[in-house]
Symmetry: C2
DNA sequence: AACATAAATGAGAATGATTATCAATATCAC
DNA sequence: GTGATATTGATAATCATTCTCATTTATGTT
């Protein structure tokens, strides 16, 4: 990771929650960094490809990024308070690749997210 | 449902797969309809609010719409041509409810979609 | 039918996130 | 240091989506 990437990923880490590329860019500028918007996007895309960050989509389609705690995993999100639990899903991974094979699909990715109400809500 | 809505939803039905607002608009124009893009969006948003159509997001954030079938199932979608296969996923259903229980979540719903390239593409 | 009023429509502009372009700058091997 | 190469930031371009508004169409009343 080079200097720019450290700055972007560092900002994401400080945020500690799902953040958009735009908001990270603004944050960096506010902190006096000269980082460009394109670099923010480039860094986040690369990090997403390397599974360093998670990507979600808001209802309006805007992408949100978040530092991964662990490797590949999915989320259980409280629809009321936003609490997020990362969950393992090896069973789902297996299922996905089997289904893909059975239907002749290649390069299959999957979107798996769980939504509900946490204990407090 | 008024005339315009019938046209838009009808086009979606004829497509029989996840389609974007833009592609439906082009389809309608090709068929000689004078339907405007704004009307396509308005109709799809309304239909989504009424749970008449399913909404998904492509990787690039574009929204895809599809007439709801009855019953619960998931999709394997070709990211190139849009071909859609409905897949059963009882294994996934079980997994989802177990994870929910283990984390004290109630009323859990899930989003599970597979994307890839079909044989032709 | 004639009229008034409200709702829906389509064309095009505006918005906003993302991506592409490209000259300037930093990095690295030698 | 020198030249080759990769990275960067500013800015323009792109593209889906939303907004605006004049016009059309539906609806209700007499």
């Amino acid at each position: 990771m080079n200097k720019s990437e450290v700055k972007v990923i560092g900002a994401l880490k400080r945020e500690g929650k799902f953040s958009s590329a735009q908001s990270l860019y603004q944050l960096l500028r506010k902190n006096g960094e000269s980082t460009g918007l394109a670099t923010v996007y480039r860094t986040l895309q690369k990090a997403a490809a390397e599974n360093i960050v998670d990507v979600l989509r808001k209802d309006d389609g805007e992408a949100l990024y978040r530092l991964c705690d662990t490797g590949h995993h999915h989320h259980l999100v409280c629809t009321n308070c936003g609490k997020t639990v990362e969950v393992e899903a090896s069973a789902v991974e297996k299922w996905a690749s089997t289904v893909a094979k059975n239907n002749g699909f290649k390069k299959v990715t999957h979107v798996v997210e769980l939504f509900g109400l946490c204990q407090k809500c």
